[in-house]
Amino acid sequence: MSTASDQFAALAQGEFAGCCAELYEQPAVSWLLDGQLHPGGKQLTLRAAQLAGVGAGSRVLDVASGAGTTALLLAEKLGAEVIGVEHGSEAVQRASTAAQAAGLDGAVSFQTGDARSLPLPDASVDAILCECSLCLFEDKATAIGEIARVLRPGASVVIADVTVGPGALPAPLQTAAARVACIADALALDGYEQLLRDAGLQLGHSESHRRAIAAMADRIEARLRAARIMRVPALEPFRGELDAAIELAQITQRAIADEIVGYALIAARRPS
């Protein structure tokens, strides 16, 4: 596995595809995020599932399923049957192990795959969640086209993602690092909505969760400063870059406060 700094370097050179799954598994990143890979935590995942109409026995696709947290939550709390598709093979392995440990391996399964060509048949799932990952995809239109293809008629997808604008992002938030942090490549709310409509989906309910992303940014900023004070082992390899990271986090906090950066749940339905 390459190191986080290798991956940042690769990003700076534009080698983006597939980086992020591994990057998000780095000890430094998981320490900073405290295991919470998207704003709002489990509560917001359950809200997204509700908007997507997930219930007992629903067959749900989780796009970019990471370490499997969402899939396990939906199986455990809602009795759903979940398929997780994830780019990183290590994450898939880990998620599968976690499912076995939780005794949920009958209800959830994980496979490696690319959002640009989902390894699922047409019209095969009752609901799709795509949490804080569309912003990372370079080719968002193709990914949403794939989502539309595998949804059965009448079923819904919920995109949970970072939104930007109105107003331009501050320059430091347009960098490679900000792209990995889901910000630089995020769209405005109506940008996501347009992509969903272009894929032939009907827009449903959208809701803003600015407080959730503000809380997440606050926690990351505080953890970076705590790491600078306490010399947290996971962050020590990046000691020289902490000041810059803290500044970036604070710029992000301000952009959230200024309503340039936000977070939204966006539901869309495949027509019957």
Binding site: S30, W31, D34, G35, Q36, G41, A215, D218, R219, A222, R223, R225, A226, R228, I229, M230, R231, V232, P233, A234
Partner: protein, 356 residues
């Protein structure tokens, strides 16, 4: 345990406890608590009792982990042997420290004291004693000094915490307008307003013990330049959820948070590393802090009840008891609000009169 009636041990009807009596009270406390966490000697002014060191040592000898001396600091300032003697026993100093303005001291304590407070603190630092500042906050008197008290404490090497106490209107403070009382929320708002670079209101957590409206606290890391409130590092609400609706509470986290913010906690009584390991239980803070020169700092605001606010349901959950000379443990706010204080004073004064 209180050493004298509120006001002064020198008053005509004041009383003092004997070492023997204190040992009996401590035995009663240990018997009641089993594994007692903390005891505070307060007054009056306990430091002027001729046997105070023996009494404090008696508490330590009984295995009470945190033994605190609540003092005005005058003896610490004037007697160079006192701070080293307390350090040797292992005492935590709870120093009354209400602010910096002359007017504040005169209004709350009746005299100017700031020079002696600073000398006391410097002697504590030299002796290696850890100190909590205890600030009585009264609206219109010293609420504007809340931020300055925190900053002073954070920056002073001996100080590991500040305890704010909105002034209660029992005992000698009866004459006031109940609609103008200071509350925990007022103190927290003042901290955030006066130190916006360090704290926000939501850095404070309402602690379940005694009752969430009794006490709010935060804990911060400080390295001489930057300060980070610890609650920002974790989703505290998620971990405090057990109070209201967890069917199966996560005991590790519960213990970590209760230990950090409980009524018996005082800033700096354990090494910072130990404390952080504690709050880190299960929440991903792998720390090796022994080599780190960071200091942990605690801010607590504790709204004691008075006759205007007394709530029996809160008394039933009380975690702060007054040990009275006959060995009873009385909820602190009941002691001060419903006549126990006066009763104890009358009994002890009568005994002393008879012994003369």
């Amino acid at each position: 345990m209180c050493f004298a009636d509120s006001g002064s041990g020198h008053q005509a009807d004041g009383f003092s406890l004997t070492l023997e009596r204190v040992e009996t009270m401590l035995d009663a406390f240990v018997a009641a608590e089993g594994d007692p966490e903390a005891v505070q000697f307060s007054g009056g002014e306990p430091s002027i009792h001729p046997q105070i060191l023996e009494m404090l040592a008696a508490a330590k000898r009984r295995g009470i982990r945190l033994v605190m001396l609540n003092t005005n600091g005058i003896r610490l300032a004037r007697d160079p042997r006192f701070a080293p003697a307390l350090a040797e026993i292992g005492i935590h100093v709870y120093l009354q420290f209400d602010g910096f303005d002359d007017a504040t001291h005169v209004a709350i304590r009746g005299r100017k004291l700031q020079d002696e407070k600073r000398r006391a603190l410097d002697r504590c630092a030299a002796a290696g004693l850890s100190v909590s500042l205890a600030a009585a906050i009264e609206r219109g008197v010293n609420e504007h000094e809340i931020g300055a008290i925190v900053r002073f404490g954070v920056e002073h090497p001996a100080v590991n915490g500040v305890f704010f106490q909105p002034v209660t209107h029992s005992g000698r403070h009866l004459d006031f307008d109940p609609l103008e009382r200071m509350t925990n929320s007022d103190v927290i708002a003042a901290v955030a307003e006066q130190l916006p670079e360090w704290f926000r209101e939501d850095d404070f957590i309402a602690v379940p013990c005694c009752s969430p409206t009794c006490r709010s606290a935060t804990y911060a890391l400080y390295d001489g330049e930057d300060l980070v409130p610890l609650p920002r590092l974790v989703d505290v609400e998620e971990y405090l959820d057990y109070v209201t609706n967890r069917a199966v509470p996560d005991l590790d986290i519960r213990q970590a948070l209760e230990g950090l913010f409980s009524a018996s906690a005082a800033g700096g009584t354990e090494p910072t590393g130990e404390r952080l390991d504690c709050v880190a239980c299960g929440v991903g803070l792998p720390l090796q802090l022994q080599e780190v020169a960071a200091k942990g700092f605690m801010i607590v605001t504790q709204d004691f009840q008075d006759p205007w606010t007394l709530d029996v349901r809160k008394l039933m959950k009380c975690c702060v008891s007054e040990i009275v000379p006959d060995g009873r443990l009385i909820p602190f706010c009941a002691y001060n609000s419903v006549g126990y204080r006066e009763q104890v004073r009358a009994e002890l004064s009568a005994q002393r009169g008879a012994a003369r």
